[in-house]
């Protein structure tokens, strides 16, 4: 086979690979949407699941997913911003900082099930919080932190050095320069990264099955006092999320319409994550525009 033929053959193969991948995505999304979207109804999205009969929904699970996400972001974003600022602005290249960087890298590469087991051992058992939203949110924060730290550090490092000097030259302290000049300039990047990470958190299940638990007690959506045991906001109640729900009913679901429910739930999950994807692009672009033209 001569070189020219090999070249043509390789090109054909590469096109075939691209075809396979595009078909794969189309097939995956097609499957989820074709089977799932017909299941979606207002009733499905809002009503609680049924254990033995058909017609259950995923209302509490959907709420739990968002509630856990919000709590996770509330915990992990401030810590990540602090850590990202330190690594980008203050950290010198010494053994301690190198050590810390390695540890953060290790954390980001840990399987999420290991993070979940840590949460189980530490938050659920040792601190005695049981299977609860709080345990789940903290486990998800641990899972989310290393990625966010990297996002923040990178966005901050992308701000030109001259911006910092301009701040210093006005008699700002380094800290003031960071908070009033650098951070606002890095904000579009940070927000985009946080929203993208939210999609990952939203779909995570392995870190949650042993922290937030696999059940949702009866909750009363009219009771918004976080201390009440039936309140959806109560941080010490177990909370099964959408992703965990899909996993659970596929393993042990005994309701007759289990497969229809997981179809619907999967579609809902994917739609939410597509939403995060689009939002991150849109909001990132909007913020950038506002900064540069507003």
């Amino acid at each position: 086979m001569n070189a020219k033929r090999a070249d043509q053959l390789a090109t054909v193969c590469l096109y075939a690979i691209v075809g396979i991948i595009v078909t794969l995505l189309a097939g995956l999304l097609g499957f989820v949407f074709v089977k799932g979207i017909p299941q979606l109804s207002w009733q499905f999205i809002t009503s609680p699941p049924q254990i033995f009969k058909e017609g259950g929904g995923v209302g509490p699970q959907l709420f739990n997913s968002f509630y856990l996400l919000v709590l996770t972001l509330l915990i992990s974003v401030p810590v990540a911003i602090g850590a990202g600022i330190y690594l980008a602005e203050y950290a010198k290249d010494n053994w301690l900082v190198r050590c810390i960087r390695v540890l953060i890298e290790v954390l980001s590469s840990l399987p999420s099930i290991v993070v979940g087991l840590f949460g189980f051992l530490f938050f659920v058992l040792y601190l005695g919080w049981g299977f609860s939203i709080l345990s789940g949110a903290l486990a998800l924060s641990v899972f989310n932190l290393p990625l966010l730290v990297r996002v923040v550090e990178q966005s901050i490092s992308n701000v030109p050095k001259q911006q910092r000097e301009a701040g210093w030259a006005l008699g700002f302290s380094k800290w003031e320069t960071i908070t009033t000049v650098v951070l606002p300039a890095a904000l579009p990047g940070i927000v985009t990264g946080v929203i993208l990470a939210s999609g990952r958190v939203f779909g995570e299940a392995a870190a949650l099955i042993y922290t937030a638990g696999m059940s949702t007690p009866a909750i009363d959506f009219t009771d918004w006092n976080p201390l009440s045991p039936v309140s959806p906001l109560n941080p010490f109640r177990p909370a099964e999320t959408m992703a965990v729900h899909i996993w659970k009913i596929n393993g042990e679901g005994i309701m007759p319409d289990a497969s229809a429910i997981s179809d619907g739930a999967a579609a809902l999950l994917i739609i939410s994550i597509l939403g995060f994807n689009l939002a991150s692009r849109f909001i990132g672009r909007l913020m950038f525009k506002k900064l540069s033209a507003g």
Binding site: A3, D7, A10, T11, L14, I17, V18, I20, I21, V22, L24, L25, L28, P78, V79, A80, G82, A83, I85, Y86, E89, A91, I100, L103, I104, E105, V106, L107, S109, L110, P111, V114, V115, L117, F118, L121, F122, L125, L145, F172, S173, W175, E176, G203, A205, A206, I209, A243, V244, I246, W247, N250, G251, S262, A266, L269, I270, I273, F276, N277
Partner: protein
């Protein structure tokens, strides 16, 4: 108010709260970093101490753990040691990881070559969003699709229930494909343009240029991409657990039910009591998982270092 100032109070001597804020800010951010690192240390310590207690407290045999094929930690063998043969899980994990890397690597690298060398326009316009969407799909959804599509399909074509290493491998290959593709793309794109032009100027065809110059130069980066993918596959729990069948034996074929470290952890942790042998044995599996993840991280670092030095 100026009258209240002493003569020596030149504005340059003024104390401002800037230094105090500076110190406070530096400390707070430092503590955030330390917190992140401390969490990692806590996880490592906990998993190590829990995982080692099977051997230290419950008198388990490490050799048995790594080579035994019977898993029944609640019972003791004739010589009075818990039966903790974890080889089936280890073999299962290694099999799904290895095979899915073999399936995924050529496709991912091919896609990356296409995006960088064949058609950058299609690459950017179509492939980039496709890859981003695939990255975003949660692993339970991959598992769910595996369960409702791949497993029945395998059941039709091959003897057996459809659950097994083959199903796990297919699900994992698709799952790690986008990650490996985008990392491979980074590696290929970091090959300097001049090398490509030099090769083409010498009369190579495009494929010869890709094969001899681009892939060769990008090799460490491509290895890193594949190892990253393997690390993800090895640590993935739910998607695999849903399709692998969860039988604690070494299967005779790829189409028989098997187990991985993660699947047995997922299944078992809720049914054991903290502190007992059954539970500690599971933590030993978690320790293996952790050690493998450290190994993958280390491998990536070593290859990465070799790359930057060159």
């Amino acid at each position: 108010m100026a009258k209240l100032l002493k003569e020596s109070e030149h504005p340059l001597y003024r104390k401002s709260n800037k230094m105090r804020m500076e110190r406070a800010g530096k400390w707070i951010t430092f503590l955030s970093v330390v917190l992140t690192a401390a969490i990692t240390v806590a996880i490592l310590l906990l998993v190590f101490s829990k995982g080692l207690s099977t051997f230290a407290v419950n008198n388990g045999s490490l050799k048995e753990f790594l080579t035994g094929t019977e898993w029944n930690p609640g019972k003791v063998s004739e010589i009075g040691k818990p039966i903790i043969g974890a080889l089936p899980f280890l073999a299962g994990s290694l099999a799904v990881t290895g095979i899915s890397a073999v399936i995924c690597a050529p496709i991912a690298i091919g896609a990356a070559i296409f995006m960088s060398e064949i058609s950058q326009k299609t690459g950017k316009k179509i492939m980039q969003p496709v890859i981003e969407l695939l990255v975003g799909i949660p692993s339970v959804v991959y598992g769910f699709i595996g369960l409702s599509v791949v497993v029945p399909l395998l059941r039709e074509v091959f003897p057996g229930s459809g659950f097994g290493i083959a199903a796990g491998t297919i699900v994992l290959s698709v799952m790690i494909l986008p990650t490996v593709t985008s990392l491979s793309l980074d590696a290929i794109q970091s090959v300097p343009r001049s090398l490509r032009e030099a090769s083409l100027a010498l009369g190579s065809t495009r494929w010869q240029m890709i094969y001899r110059v681009v892939l060769k130069t990008a090799k460490p980066g491509l290895m890193m991409a594949i190892i990253f993918g393997m690390a993800r596959a090895f640590g993935e729990a739910l998607a695999v657990q849903m399709v692998i069948g969860n039988a604690a034996v070494i299967p005779h074929s790829l189409f028989e039910p098997a187990s991985t470290l993660t699947s047995i952890l997922t299944m078992g942790m809720g049914y054991t009591v903290m502190g007992q042998v059954e539970n500690n044995a599971l933590w030993s599996l978690a320790l293996i998982l952790l050690l493998m993840s450290l190994f993958f991280t280390l491998a990536v670092r070593i290859i990465g270092k070799g790359r930057t030095v060159r």
